[in-house]
Point group: C2
Chain length 157, copies 2
């Protein structure tokens, strides 16, 4: 094709399979179970069509993705955002692609009147923690100096 | 009134002011800013009318509340739930009211096909951590033994 590789951009429904491939690669790299690209593509076609999930992509075919979900919150007029996933293909790390993705993500969220973005980071993943701290995230409660832990419970169906 | 105090129950839109009062009391008790009961009531009337926020109340007038928001998630068919707030009035703690609220909440979420419920807990709040651990929550990633930290970034509007 004559076109240059697409710049960092907001994903559309047509990007569902590209987002799915990256998320599947992410889990495969970190030995986390994945339902597979086909299931993920199907879910993403539904999720990206609604206004409470958004994804940022870089590259064509995409080699980096951020996936964010929005939810209501009683403490803010607008929604609160959670950065569910951020992934850059291993051979392209260290080139600032993650920063480009985060920057567009933050601009996109500001335009949606989001006032708070949250992320859960593994305590041992010092590289990720430093990356998020460089981008203005903090794991320390400003008033108490305490940090918060992320707890989960699986529900049987 | 001849009626007994209402049992633990799912909140409706008409409970917005009762939920707002408890959330305001919560933040007041812990020296956290609150926009005030009036603003919270207005937001809760909107939020409780939608299907991505739900609250459980105990007592009449209510003396305990759990507030939960749902969001989509690519790793599950159904929504993921976040327990945003859980509060029992100070003079009624230690009587199992929090457990009654959590039990109804979990039943309600199972009926909504929720497979995962999340909560962010202050690391220093050992009482809360023990309470959630007793109810099956864990702060430890089962495969790695690592725990996850909750990071946030405020966005300027």
């Amino acid at each position: 094709m004559a076109n240059a590789a697409p710049a960092t951009r907001r994903a559309t429904i047509d990007d569902a399979s590209g987002v799915a491939r990256l998320l599947h690669d992410f889990n495969t790299e970190f030995d986390t179970p994945s339902p597979g690209e086909e299931v993920l593509t199907s879910r993403l076609r539904r999720l990206l069509a609604a206004d409470d999930t958004l994804a940022i992509l870089a590259g064509g075919p995409p080699h980096a993705v951020a996936l964010v979900t929005l939810r209501p919150n009683v403490w803010y007029d607008g929604p609160v955002a959670l950065l569910d996933e951020l992934y850059v293909a291993p051979n392209l790390r260290g080139r600032g692609i993650g920063t480009e993705v985060i920057d567009l993500l933050l601009d996109t969220l500001r335009a949606r009147d989001v006032e708070l973005i949250e992320i859960n980071v593994d305590a041992d993943d010092l590289g990720a923690r430093r990356f998020y701290e460089r981008h203005g995230f903090t794991g320390v409660e400003p008033t108490t100096g305490d940090h918060a832990l992320y707890y989960v419970k699986q529900l049987e169906r």
